[in-house]
């Protein structure tokens, strides 16, 4: 599995299409995106790990970085953001390759990617 992360609207899905050699329409069968939004439903570390394990079955997992702003005052938003960051770390540990896409440009953080 390749983990593709990066800021909002940085071109992550376009990069996934390039990596997998598929169209945007075909991407849904091979990759999953916005997985940062799935983390909030996990109440425990075990649930986060189970989520990371099931996501790892995809060829590419796309996660938007959202931990860069001010810590949210709202407890639920704060917890969701924390969970999203921890999920990213768990996914990176399971990934053979981790790529950060920035302004449409990939930077390999882990492993080797056939770009």
């Amino acid at each position: 599995m390749t983990l593709i992360t990066g800021p909002l609207w940085s071109g992550k899905r376009d990069f996934a299409c390039r990596l997998l050699g598929c169209t945007r329409a075909e991407l849904a069968g091979r990759a999953v995106w916005d997985v940062q939004e799935l983390a909030a439903a996990c109440a425990t570390q075990a649930q986060l790990e189970a989520l990371a394990g099931s996501l790892a079955a995809y060829e590419a997992v796309i996660l938007t970085e959202e931990g860069g702003g001010v810590v949210p005052a709202d407890p639920a938003e704060r917890a969701a953001r924390e969970a999203a960051g921890r999920l990213a770390c768990l996914l990176a540990a399971r990934a053979g390759c981790v790529v950060r896409v920035f302004c449409g440009l990939p930077l390999v953080l882990k492993g080797e990617c056939d770009l």
Partner: protein
């Protein structure tokens, strides 16, 4: 040479960007895109950046919108600061291109400038890692800036992100 320098607030991106042009013969132009509003916060900011540039030989040109129509006094090197302001001005300012034309005004404006100068360094803002819990108008602005970043990164010779004054290159080589 066209370099895109992106960084968070107070990341050292301006000083790094200035440094990219100092070894070149010049003339050096500083293209300031901030609308010069008469408010203390703006005056302080402008004064801080002027002090940073003092003695580095930059001629300041103020140009909040309409980059495509700009004529440089002479061929030289340009530091444009910053793309985030330019995008906001094109989107929101009465003199700007408005929602329908802002992306083209920003991207084509920068590319026209790139063709007219020897070296161009464009400074912009990393504002895309703090979630998307914004008002709808803010999201429109962020999408515009993200599109401009991707379009210009594709055209640039070098693209880097600055953290703590240190660049990470995503494209091209560190000079």
């Amino acid at each position: 040479m066209f370099t895109l320098v992106i960084g968070g607030a107070a990341s050292g991106k301006s000083e790094y960007a200035e440094g990219l042009l100092l070894a070149r013969p010049g003339p050096r132009y500083y293209l300031a895109t901030m609308e010069p509003l008469d408010a203390p916060a703006y005056r302080e900011r402008i004064a801080r950046h002027r002090a940073l540039r003092a003695g580095k030989g930059f001629v300041t040109i103020e140009r909040p919108v309409g980059l495509a129509g700009l004529r440089l006094p002479a061929a030289g090197d340009v530091l444009l600061e910053d793309l985030g302001n330019l995008a906001a001005n094109e989107l929101y300012s009465p003199a700007g291109a408005g929602p329908a034309g802002a992306l083209e005004a920003v991207v084509q404006g920068v590319l026209r400038l790139r063709a007219a100068c020897r070296a161009l360094v464009v400074v912009s803002n990393e504002v895309f890692t703090g979630g998307r819990d914004y008002a709808p108008g803010t999201e429109e602005y962020l999408r515009l800036l993200a599109k401009a970043h991707r379009a210009l990164a594709a055209e640039a010779d070098a693209v880097c992100e600055v953290a703590c004054g240190l660049p990470v290159y995503y494209k091209g080589e560190m000079p």
